[in-house]
């Protein structure tokens, strides 16, 4: 702070202005802190309450004794299976749709309609996705309550964000590269395959990874399309990794958290907190991976 005196000494208006400025700064800082600190405190509280059950066996054991004891393995593996399947469906369609929008589509009414559709699809509430999933995949297509019905529902839910990440990643590749390739006699697809897509992969992956975490955490879309209260799952061996057939209902971590906290009597609080902590940890880890990816992407720029 420079010494201000004489000619440059602050007058009354200036002093008031600085006081308001300081007050505003502090208020805004406190508001931000008020939003974040309690949340961090809650998260810490969750970990503390979950502590008694948090252990490796909690993760790999199945629920026992009408869900009042044991671990969460069946739900954990169910979540992993349904997420992998849903992304296996959504990622190829979403990436190719993004390629279409950024590389092939011309500026006409059809393209505007596609863009509108993507925005609309992104705005559909998750319970409406569940309604659609029940009506189309469970009932009309006859899959019944199953992993396959739930995966299809989740796939449609994650599709719009994958499309948008892809178009943004592709748009970040300079146009000059494409022009150079076209003039060398490469076709549109050859150019995309050899130059554009490889240089957009990091951006696309970031978007896809984020959808992994979202699919793992969502409950509403799998509520009636496949997730159920309890399924007996093998305790060990290879079968315990893929215990659910495609047409079978399954347990999922997010739904398990819901049931164990609201519908199971006699379970210790710690089990519920433990489930919550595992779900949060899973989701946050995946998100952190995508953030790290994004940071490394920025530093390994090839142009």
């Amino acid at each position: 702070m420079s010494v201000e005196a004489g000619l440059f000494a602050p007058g009354p208006i200036e002093r008031r202005k600085r006081l308001i400025e300081r007050a505003a700064h502090v208020t805004l800082l406190l508001t931000t802190a008020a939003l974040i600190l309690p949340l961090l405190a809650i998260l810490a509280y969750l970990v503390v309450k979950a502590w008694p059950v948090l252990s490796w066996s909690f993760l790999v054991e199945n629920p026992k004794n009408y869900m009042t004891a044991g671990g969460i393995w069946a739900a954990l593996v169910g979540t992993l299976d349904v997420v992998v399947l849903s992304l296996a469906i959504a990622a190829p369609i979403g990436v190719l749709a993004g390629v279409y929008l950024n590389e092939y589509a011309r500026e006409n009414w059809l393209t505007r309609l596609v863009n509108l559709a993507v925005v609309n699809l992104a705005g559909v509430p998750s319970i409406v996705h569940a309604l659609f999933g029940v009506g189309v995949f469970v009932l009309m297509a006859g899959f019944g309550r199953s992993i396959v019905a739930a995966s299809c529902t989740l796939a449609i839910m994650t599709l719009p964000v994958i499309i948008t990440s892809t178009t943004e990643a592709l748009a970040a590749v300079p146009f000059a590269f494409r022009e150079a390739c076209w003039n060398l006699g490469a076709s549109r697809w050859q150019t995309i395959r050899t130059i554009v897509l490889p240089n957009a992969t990091s951006g696309i992956l970031t978007g896809v990874i984020l959808q992994v975490s979202r699919a793992a955490g969502e409950t509403a879309p799998i509520l009636f399309t496949g997730a159920v209260f309890y399924v007996a799952v093998p305790d060990s061996g290879l079968a315990s990794f893929f215990p659910y057939g495609l047409r079978d209902p399954f347990m999922a971590l997010s739904y398990h958290l819901f049931t164990i906290s609201t519908q199971v009597t006699g379970a210790s609080d710690a089990l519920a907190y433990g489930t919550a902590v595992v779900l949060i940890a899973l989701v946050l880890t995946v998100n952190l991976v995508s953030i790290v990816f994004r940071v490394r992407l920025r530093s390994r720029r090839k142009w």
């Binding site: 000059a176 076209w182 006699g185 130059i195």
Partner: protein, 251 residues
Amino acid sequence: MASHVVFRNVTVRYGGTIALDNISLEIPAHQIFGIIGPANSGKTTLLKCINRTLDFIPNVRIAGQVTIDGEDVFRVKNVYDLRRRIGMVFPLPVGLPLSVYDNVAYAPRMAGMRDRSQLDELVERCLRQAALWDEVKDRLRLLGTKLSGGQQQRLTLARALSHRPEILCLNRFSIAVDPVTTSKIEDVLLELKREMTIVVVSNLVQQVHRLADRVAFLNSSRLIEVGPTEVLFSEHPAHQLTFDYVRGHFG
């Protein structure tokens, strides 16, 4: 193997705007053909007609005929083969985000060449022709985008030569490049004239005077005059407009 290009009554429209207005001219083989004119006179469009990269512009309409050795470019069986018969260098240097080696090997690979020794030989030949070999021969793995501007422009030239074009087009190649590189490239062009037809579009009138055998002067999408360089740059070209432009009275 060089080719002879003929434009017959070519008119190009982007939507409602006319980019080229009834252009007819001949570009003889084994010569350097210069094209001069102020901004927006259609020079770039003219080049894009030759290798049909006009196709990538939305709402473009073309009337008239462009032939290469008598073959109509808009009726070829394979437009990608056509584009490989023509080499194009742009105003802004563009290194592809691949190694220097892969930059030059890109077009041959797209055309199906796989043999490693053939590719090695081709890469060296093109980099030598583009006067870049000595500077990169130990650093072929270096990313093309990390070269200097002048080096990237010569890399673009090497890429353009990699598919053995019959016609080499250069669109204001020296505007983003230092004078040393410019004169290196100009020397290269004078040598390449023996092997191919060269078309040079430039805003630098003196550059065209140095390089070209024949010159065309475009203004506002129209062809004002075409003829031997000495005539257009003399005291008595066919049009007053040419005289004014060459002397810098406008544009």
